[in-house]
């Protein structure tokens, strides 16, 4: 059992408030990812949970116990750092058993735990090496191994994959997902990479400017972003956002006018909208199609062929650029004139303040 509760957590450095009243419940055995652009406070939030930074105000509860004043090592957490932070002068085995040694566990007990963790991570043959003799991926596994031997209630990961090259990153991502499955532990993971967030998380917490923008499962965030920031941040390539204004509305349909005198019916509740209100229309690249009947006309300016799919960047009349996901064998060429079909059922509307309608 390990739940983590954050109640109105704030953190200031001198006069600068970097974490602004975070409320969050992290369930037992869940995999929660904090994601956001750099400087959004996600790493600071993790360090507050870890006990490496002092909480300015608010309460942090682990399994219902307030731990604000409990030292880092007594909170029952283990952390994996971005730089791995291995002890360079110690062997892999000593790195992994350092916490046990400090806790006064005898040599036999330490060895057993190290061997168990090494087996999970396939590090058995590397135990007598020093960190500098290991590759990036191996170092990362040692850092995870060091966390595992402590048998923590909660694992904390601070951008653990950002120092690895692309191929290794995908591989380690899978390993971490499997580890979560096999260890059955609560994990909190910080990343600026929304792909990592989408693939690993049970629950994503999107942060901006020290505050939570939205909390939800990956698909909830993808399908129902609460505001423009989340809409643009989640999804790759990101959502197309077009300026528009309200033309007319009924109870469950809003008719919007897009640049180029295009009108579109979007099935959302109109709430407080008035005709002529400025709004933003969002539509994901996979929901735009090339079609002779397409409402938006424009010119292809860039073609990106990834094999299984092709992304077309189209400059539409009226000035905006949109991204369209098509099949890999789409024959479109740069400078082609195309018509883009847009379906109101797949569109999101955001009001002038950026909130989803």
């Amino acid at each position: 059992m390990a739940t983590v509760s954050l109640r109105d957590i704030c953190k200031s450095f001198a006069d600068l408030e970097v974490v602004k009243g975070i409320n969050l419940e992290i369930e037992d055995r869940s995999f929660v990812v904090f994601v956001g652009p750099s400087g959004c406070g996600k790493s600071t939030l993790l360090r507050l949970i870890a006990g490496l930074e002092e909480i300015t105000s608010g309460d942090l509860l682990i399994d219902g116990q307030r731990v604000n004043d409990v030292s880092a090592d007594k909170r029952g957490l283990a952390m994996v750092f971005q730089s791995y932070a291995l002890y360079p002068h110690m062997t892999v085995a000593d790195n992994m058993s350092f916490s046990l040694r400090l806790a006064g566990i005898d040599k036999a007990g330490r060895n057993q735990k190290v061997i168990d963790a090494a087996r999970i991570l396939q590090l058995e043959s590397l135990l007598q090496r020093k960190p500098k003799e290991l590759s990036g991926g191996q170092r990362q596994r040692v850092a995870i191994g060091r966390a595992i031997v402590r048998n923590p209630k909660v694992f904390l990961f601070d951008e653990p994959l950002s120092n690895l090259d692309a191929g290794l990153r995908v591989q380690m991502r899978i390993e971490i997902a499997r580890l979560h499955e096999s260890l059955n532990a609560t994990m909190i993971y910080v990343t600026h990479d929304q792909v990592e967030a989408m693939t690993l998380a049970d629950k994503i917490v999107v942060l901006r400017g020290g505050a939570i923008e939205q909390v939800g499962t990956p698909l909830e965030l993808y399908r129902r972003p609460r505001n423009l920031f989340v809409a643009a941040f989640i999804g790759s390539p990101s959502m197309n956002l077009l300026p528009a204004h309200v033309k007319a509305m009924s109870e469950s349909v809003v008719t919007v006018a897009l640049p180029g005198a295009v009108e579109l019916d979007v099935p959302v509740e109109s709430n407080n909208l008035k005709p002529d209100d400025s709004i933003t229309l969002g539509v994901r690249p996979e929901h735009l199609h090339l079609s002779d009947q397409g409402q938006l006309r424009g010119e292809v300016i860039v073609v990106e062929r990834l094999g299984s799919e092709t992304y077309l960047y189209v400059q539409i009349d009226g000035g905006k650029r949109v991204t369209i996901e098509t099949r890999g064998d789409n024959p479109a060429q740069i400078h082609d004139s195309v018509a883009v079909q847009i379906d109101g059922r797949h569109c999101h509307l955001f009001d002038a303040s950026g909130e989803a309608i």
């Binding site: 880092a72 932070a85 350092f98 916490s99």
Partner: protein
Amino acid sequence: MKQTFFQKLIITLIAWTAAVVIFFPIFWMLLSGFKTEIDAIAAPPLLVFEPTLENYEAAQQRANYMSSAANSVFISVGATLLALAFSIPAAYAMAFFPTRRTRGTLLWMLSTKMLPPVGVLVPVYILYRDLGLLDTRIGLIIIYALMNLPIVVWLLYTFFKDVPKDILEAGRMDGARPRQELFYLLMPLALPGMASTALLSIILCWNEAFWSLNLTTSDASPLTAFIASFSAPEGLFWAKLSAASTMAIAPILIFGWLSQRQLVRGLTFGAVK
């Protein structure tokens, strides 16, 4: 940029000139030590002469070289250990738990090195007299440690700052108390830097003359006082003085030579990454 032959020649010449200018006094001292007193003051100076070992013999008879050398070793090492014992915790605190005043404190410590020592000679002398520390090795150890403290703290501070903070934080997550963090993580990681700091401190202590001349008479006299004893009221004995000086600097020269790689590596550590 590729250097022309001419540029290389100029640079080489400048380097050699500087090296010769720096080395010449040492070379002359070495030479004079093997001359007779007459040859040593001959004008014009003699480059070719009949070498003799009589000055070394005389220097040994006149003052006790071995006891001075032992004092130098004991005092230099003792003062260095004492300075490290204070500096390591100080540098640790300043490097990893800085406050708004840390920078100022460091600069202030360094500024004390700019004070001419003679300015505090009288109070220090009176203090030492009253405390019974005059002409004691422990007295010199204390004053040397104090003298080197600012430099040792500064150097250790820069070495400690080069140790990634993450590693110490990982240690903290693993349950290391500050003392364990210091002994198990920081000190092993900063060992090259600490070694070169210690070497530098030993060399500075070995070469120190002002305090040793003023605070010792015989029992605790290190080699610097041993050399000075050859400029006697009866006159200067250049040849014997040179022989004594050669004997005094020989150990530290050999020590410095053997450790120069460590020294240079340590002192440029962090500057060239």
